[in-house]
Amino acid sequence: MSEQPQRPFTAASFNQFLEEDKLMGSRCTECEGLYLPPRALCPQCHSQNLEWVEMGGRGKLAAFTSIYIAPTAMNALGFGRSHPYLTGVVELNEGVKISARLLGLDAQKPEEIQIGTPMQVAFLRQGEGENQKTVLAFRPNAAKV
């Protein structure tokens, strides 16, 4: 574990890891509680000793939606009424869940999407130039989990 960089347990660190194509959570070194998004304090045993853990990136779809009325940020990317996008909650094999964009599924046919679909992590580069950032996403995993 000592090989993992000791960055602060912040959203900025989490996002920086995404830029490096890593999905990172944190684990309590006292009670082994695993957290994604990462936490700086353990809510189970209230320990302050946590370490970064890289997630395997595989799991299954727990909940989803296809969004037709988009917020400003997604409107700016061209999404909206005639161009919906998918977002949802994915449960990883490690047992933790996270919100993420969903790729490789048809946002126009949400009724065909199945809860429980095996998914794998994808790192979505969004925006251009200086504004480019990496957004957490998942896409269906051809291989069974």
Binding site: A62, T65, S66, I69, P71, P84, V89, G116
Partner: protein
């Protein structure tokens, strides 16, 4: 877990009022709040001298972003002539009003004050829809949820997909909630949508005929609700009529120490139980088909009141989306998990059903001025328990009633139980 001790001394509601809910160009929060206060004053049986009010709690979610106005509580107090009383703004997203009510109850129970005004207010329609969506989204986790593209309809839509998968509900089942709440809203003159869905459909047909446009061929409200033009998709499986509207409105109730209730009314409504809990971001919850904070808040309130879910005759629940009402009726223990949508389909939750839910029209039809909604629920309970609900009055005595108010996806939930003793 938070124990649920009884109140140190009893608290009674002796007045309740609300502004008309809707979209009111040119009316600010304070104008709406004045309207609610005037309605409240008129509701106090033995009259209200505002001088007796000692403290003011105001539920307000985001006047900052909606109106570019922070520090709303003293401004509301000033608008109704209550300076220099302490005025406290309470913010817990869409549960702000219900939490303000709880703070008012606690203030009186503490013994520090005897007479408290609890208000709620939100002025939402000055912003364009995308900006309202953005503002509401700030109630979620900006860093980990909003960044994934979630909107509020999106969250509840995702909960709906998990619920459909677990219990076999179809999107069509959700429409029963919208039909029922609009039917109630049609009988509420203060509702934003004072119209049933069948009447709405007919008026659209009549309008098309009048304007010489192609006349829609809907044969039933179900056709209307399945029409992508009339009822567009917002976040699958939620369509427009699954979503509460963007609303301007205010509501207020007057709380007093129980031993002073007779000074104001011979028919006070007693606050018997109060519960509140918080929860994680949606993705961090074990179960995406229920809201643990609502279950906990309900347990606390039932325990404090010494009653059970079966004892509750009517309830105003937080139907910000149709799926939210279905989940709420299960979280409150009215129905078993997975049965809520069947009860809505079977009319059990209708005004004339065994467990009337949202006789006011709910957030769906009455409107959802977010910070005011929790207080608006108490206003409906006040009217129903005192048989002052007009055309939507339930056909039975209501000795016990409940309100259930949710902030965001359920990261705040607050439940109150009310009793009529006379």
């Amino acid at each position: 877990m938070t124990p649920s001790s009884p109140l140190s001394r009893g608290v009674a509601m002796v007045g309740a009022g609300m502004s008309k809910f809707g979209a009111f160009k040119g009316k600010s929060s304070r104008d709406l709040f004045v309207e609610a206060f005037k309605h409240l004053s008129a509701s106090v049986d033995k009259g209200l001298d505002p001088e007796v009010i000692e403290s003011v709690y105001i539920g307000n979610y985001s006047s900052d972003l909606f109106e570019h106005q922070g520090h709303t509580a003293p401004i509301m107090a000033d608008a109704i002539g209550l300076v220099p009383r302490p005025a406290i703004r309470v913010e817990d997203a869409c549960a702000s009003g219900g939490v303000a009510l709880r703070q008012g109850v606690m203030a009186i129970a503490s013994g520090m004050v005897d007479v408290v005004l609890v208000g709620g207010v939100e002025k939402m329609t000055d912003l364009p829809t995308a900006a309202v969506t953005d503002t509401l989204a700030t109630a979620a986790d900006t860093l980990y949820e909003v960044s994934a593209g979630f909107t509020f309809p999106g969250f509840y839509a995702a909960m709906a997909t998990a619920y459909m998968h677990k219990y076999g509900m179809q999107p069509e089942h959700l429409m029963n909630v919208a039909l029922k709440n609009h039917e109630n809203g049609a009988l509420n003159p203060l509702a934003q949508f004072n119209v049933s869905i069948p009447d709405w459909m007919q008026s659209r047909i009549a309008s098309a005929e009048r304007k010489g446009r192609p006349v829609p061929t809907w044969e039933s409200p179900w056709d209307f609700l399945h029409d992508d033009q009339a009822n567009p998709m917002i976040a699958w499986p939620l369509r427009l009529f699954d979503c509460s509207p963007i609303t301007d409105g205010a509501a207020a109730v007057l709380l007093v120490a129980e031993q002073r209730a007779k000074e104001f009314s011979d028919h006070p409504i007693h606050i018997l139980g109060s519960g509140q809990a918080s929860d994680y971001a949606l993705h961090d919850r074990q179960d995406l088909t229920h809201i643990a904070a609502a279950q906990r808040a309900a347990q606390q309130a039932y325990q404090m009141a010494g009653v059970t879910a079966e004892d509750i005759r009517i309830a105003e629940v937080h139907d910000c989306f149709t799926i939210a009402e279905i989940i709420a009726t299960e979280d409150l223990g009215f129905f078993k998990p997975g049965d809520g949508y069947k009860m809505a389909e079977d009319g059990v939750t209708a005004r004339y059903g065994a467990k009337p839910i949202n006789t006011s029209g709910g957030l769906k039809a009455k409107g959802h001025p977010v910070g005011a909604s929790g207080v608006g629920q108490a206003v409906e309970i006040w009217k129903q328990m005192r048989t002052q609900a007009g055309g939507r009055q339930v056909d039975r005595e209501v000795p016990l009633a409940l309100t259930h108010n949710v902030g965001a996806t359920g990261s705040t939930c607050v439940v109150h139980i009310y009793e009529r003793r006379d």
